[in-house]
Symmetry: C2
């Protein structure tokens, strides 16, 4: 008797066909007549279920016929070719042991449930087809990202989650404290005394690891982060969460074009990896969630991504101002409608928009020769708009200092960041990729709450 998983059976069918095997799993459905019955069983190892046939010769035939959904079983039997058309094989049970009987009020009965309802049972939803597919793809893609960078020799850096700085001012931050909020210590002037807090100062949750990871870039040349980041922003949209994971590569001796090339190569790698390593799940999404999915992904894989400057893009978009809710003119930040028009109507493929006006971008982006734009880039993809944002960083100490002054930043707070420019600071660049946005893009799922195991959003922190 060989112990097997359902994945083993699907992936190495020839090896197990007509063999006696033993497996354990959970009941997805049971139906039975007087003489025989069928169980669809899933053991978590694989997206597809296995069909189990049992007959009245089974000692506990009556008990098995009445099994509740999600009950756990250990089954011994022989894998045989299936007479049915639906699957090429089935397991003919010789013994079925009930390991755990599920209660009759199990919420995931056969009928379809809305995603909204399933969010209220986030601890059970990975047992449904959709969420089993989402979270296996999420896992596979997380690994693809590590594989991509590690095989290129990039060093993975765990940048800090708790931070004493407000980084790039990228967004509202959550405070982290160990003080008694009911009776917080105050100083003589009556102000809150954070010197009494755990870290001896005010601390928050990070919004980006970029500034920290730049320090490692100047040592290891090519580095990346992959960790959680936070925004205390009350934006109740389908694309925003208070807690999400981000990937931030940073490369030295490199400029904006190297940065765009890396982003293009990475996107293609992870798409191909998901298609190759979660084929059943990806087919499920293409069939049941977004019928344009495979076309969309194939289009990315086979395209050379387009390139256009912000200034050129504005020139093209201005001609279409009649079609936009927000008319375009030079100096504005592009809206999703503009981004999608560029990538879907004009380029019909992914496109990098580069060299944005300096006033709408962060202080650390490298000032261009025109003194009006910075070496920033966004990657826009059909169906979504922006999926990556990055820049070449300002490596010239004096320029960086004067940019910080323009932004009203205190140079003392950034001494270590400025040191990177003092001590052999070379050209470098990097970008940020919101991990959940990628998973939404790769699966067709339209709400960020449905690609995070236990989502944290305004007024929601369950489980």
């Amino acid at each position: 008797m060989q112990l097997v998983t359902i994945k083993d059976i699907y992936r190495e069918t020839d090896r197990f066909l007509n063999q006696k095997v033993e497996l354990s799993g959970w009941v997805r459905t049971v139906r039975s007549s007087k003489a025989f019955g069928f169980i669809e069983i899933n053991d978590g190892s694989f997206f597809e279920n296995l069909q189990v046939v049992f007959e009245e010769s089974l000692a506990n035939f009556a008990e098995i016929g009445k099994l509740t959904i999600s009950s756990a079983l250990r089954i011994q039997g022989t894998l045989v070719p299936s007479p049915g058309a639906k699957q090429p094989f089935e397991l003919k049970a010789e013994s079925i042991e009930v390991l755990a009987l599920s209660a009759v009020d199990y919420p995931l009965q056969k009928k379809r449930h809305t995603f909204e309802y399933l969010r209220t049972i986030a601890h059970l939803r990975p047992r449904t087809n959709t969420f089993a597919a989402v979270f296996r793809v999420r896992s596979v893609v997380a690994y693809a990202i590590h594989k991509f960078f590690q095989e290129k020799g990039y060093v993975y850096v765990h940048t800090p989650i708790i931070t004493g700085s407000d980084a790039e001012g990228a967004g509202e931050m959550f405070r982290v404290t160990a003080l008694d909020m009911a009776k917080p210590p105050k100083d003589e002037a009556g102000n809150l005394d954070f010197s009494k807090d755990f870290f001896g100062r005010e601390t928050s949750l990070t919004v980006s690891g970029q500034l920290n990871v730049e320090t490692y870039c100047m040592a290891f040349r090519n580095v990346y982060t992959f960790g959680p980041t936070f925004r205390a922003e009350n934006s109740n949209t389908a694309r925003h969460a208070a807690e999400f994971w981000m990937i931030e590569p940073e490369i030295a001796f490199a400029d904006l074009h190297d940065n765009m090339n890396l982003a293009e190569e990475m996107m293609k790698f992870i798409i191909q990896y998901a298609l190759d390593n979660a084929p059943e799940e990806m087919a499920f999404f293409n069939n049941f969630v977004d019928k344009t999915l495979f076309n969309r992904l194939e289009n990315i894989l086979s395209s050379e991504f387009g390139h256009i400057t912000y200034t050129e893009a504005v020139g093209l978009l201005e001609k279409e101002n009649a079609n936009f809710e927000y008319p375009v003119h030079w100096g504005i930040d592009l809206q999703t409608e503009h981004e999608r028009y560029l990538t879907e109507k004009i380029f019909k493929k992914p496109v990098f928009v580069s060299d944005y006006p300096k006033d709408i971008k962060a202080f650390y982006m490298r000032l261009n020769e025109d003194n009006k734009t910075v070496a920033a880039m966004d990657l826009l993809v059909p169906g979504v708009g922006e999926i990556i944002g990055g820049s070449q960083r300002e490596e010239r100490l004096e320029v960086l200092q004067s940019r910080m002054e323009e932004f009203g930043l205190n140079a003392e707070d950034y001494g270590w960041y400025l040191d990177l420019r003092k001590y052999g600071g070379v050209k470098h660049a990097g970008y940020g990729l919101g991990f959940e946005r990628v998973i939404m893009y790769l699966t067709g799922m339209s709400n960020i709450r449905d690609v995070i195991s236990f989502p944290r959003t305004a007024n929601t922190c369950e489980f």
Copy 2:
């Protein structure tokens, strides 16, 4: 002219010997005489430096001879066999361009610095040999962990960082809030009103992803987490940090022995992976940080780990009570001195201690038949003591409920956790591995502050 990295040159020497190449990197040392000079250059791609020879024929010979440490260069030249014994090859420079001149007050001059001092310049310390080695090994081992689990089909789950529950009561927690701490909202009774906070409730930073990941274990069978966890504990030791990363696998249809087998296989895998994929760094640690390192790691690789129950271990240790600061008797939690005695003196190899008294372990651990002990296990290793802690989980609903009552836990707060037992809850088990502890063990570094890029400890949250 081929663009190369120093890693390319070391790994594929034959391909580049007597070829013209171009590379960029940072100066580690320069020395020069009237007619020629040497630069040790490092480009971040590899642990070792490359020796560059330059001669007075170079247009900027005088400038190069006076280069400051950490200046960045682009060098074109020919890779030639080296007449010196120290390395087999060197780069004979034909042109050297200064990309960035480092300031003369660069803190990492040639003299040795203490680890304490280097912590104050955590943004520069990865440029030293020791920290370059530490953080490359950290990256390589992080990848090894993903590789180990992914190749077995485990699903990587990002469990939440911000949590509304106090999980297992595993330690003091940091509060997360978006309230104005100077004027927090109060309810009619004068108590803090967390319903006005961002999430509409009190929230904290997670101390463990275990309870959350158990929900995914009951769907995917084999799962793991790898993410940051937090303790607001003012323990100023070399082994504790307020923010650290943890790996928590969880396996279904599995008991404590499966759990121990998995832990043993994983430990061996990641040690072998580090030795194979960071050989220069590991040799550096063995030569300069801990001369017993290779012996210690080889001992782990070649041992079958020992197994002993807590009760048996106490029987053995009691005979040695005269040697201990804290005498042993049944019921106490083992101290590091006892753990090390077991693994170093008695077993002389890694050993699992299992089946601890229920009163010193967490509520979710499976109660044994004796009603006195639980199916817990710790892995003890020579030189450190405990490196992994885990257990089989209590899958029996009634037993779990009565254990929660004993612990004074409110069943309502754990409804979703209890659901896992109601709806097909099978035997399952898991463990936690502190990532920084592993890195300390693999490198011989003795302070956790020296294996975290920007450590967060009581009164320290710099950068």
